[in-house]
Amino acid sequence: MVLIKLFLAFLKIGTFTFGGGYAMIAMIQAEAERQGWLTGEELVDFVALSESTPGPLAVNMATFVGMRTGGVLGAIIATLGIVLSSFVIILIIAKCFERYQKSKAVGGIMSGLKPAVAGMIGAAFISVAGTVLFPAGVSVSVFSSAGFWIFLGIFAVTTVLAFKKVHPIKIILLSAVIGIGAGYGFGL
């Protein structure tokens, strides 16, 4: 039963995501929370690991969630789910692709989809920020904890590096080193 749910969830995610992995995060989070597959923090960790391993982010995420919820079979099913609709749609388009590309309808649909995807990445940012900044909910005591400010510091540094086009793997490695240093240094 969990295998069918995994397949359907990732089939849906693969069918309705445009333009790469980050737009997918909001959707994976919604599905994973609805089914109780992952906590918000696990999801963020998976995003980091998927980003620091080779291969498409979406496929990596699917394999991860599948493996965690349904073992090896789950991983295969989830990966199949995320690939299937891409595969079928591309096969269909490959046959009539000149027409598809010049079609004004496709241009119109894309003019609505691109901003929608931007909005969804915004939603992913808000939900991930909530998960990692306030894991136990927003309260005054959060702002007096060292962890919160260390976190903001790492976020500020890595944001600058990301905008300077430093490779994501380097950024993730650096953040891990700072995390270890700060963790032991402040005895968190």
Binding site: G14, F18, S50, P54, F87, T159
Partner: protein, 163 residues
């Protein structure tokens, strides 16, 4: 990944021309699903039909699949180590930064169009998915339809204007 595909497919194997590659990238970006999968399926199909599409897709998925499976199996054991927990604390902050960067890049693409319509869709999509928790699939369908209708209405107005 696209520059890698280009180098391998055009320069090394000479399966496709540069023009084909730019078409494939455009199509891969405007169809659902991961761009790398779309591009692999397309290149495979163009080169040797359906079996080619299957093999290319399998090829692009397989390394990810194996690596992630192994990591996922050993991750649980590592998570009990204190240093690993601290490392992930730092990494979570970095992920937030990477998402912010992706958001900025998408926002710039929207900004280029300089259309109030695009900003409205962006705000609406953010509101619906982040705060009202509407299913992202419905938001995508709705925004796609909205874009289609909007562009059709605009075209009608333009053609009326020239008559």
């Amino acid at each position: 990944m696209i520059p890698l595909i280009q180098k391998e497919v055009c320069e090394n194997k000479k399966w496709l021309s540069e023009k084909d590659i730019s078409d494939i990238v455009a199509i891969s970006e405007s169809t659902p699903g991961p761009i790398a999968i779309n591009a692999a399926t397309f290149v495979g199909y163009k080169t040797s039909g359906f079996p080619g599409a299957c093999m290319a897709t399998l090829g692009v998925v397989l390394p990810s699949f194996l690596i992630i499976s192994i990591i996922s199996m050993i991750l649980t054991q590592f998570q009990s180590i204190r240093a690993v927990r601290y490392a992930f604390m730092g990494i979570r902050a970095a992920v937030l930064a990477l998402i912010l960067k992706a958001l900025w890049m998408m926002f710039n693409q929207v900004k280029k169009k300089k259309k109030p319509f695009s900003y409205a869709i962006m705000g609406l999509s953010l509101l619906l998915t982040a705060f009202l928790k509407i299913d992202a699939a419905f938001v995508i369908i709705g925004c796609g339809l909205f874009g289609l209708i909007w562009s059709m209405l605009n075209r009608k107005e333009q053609s009326n204007g020239t008559d």
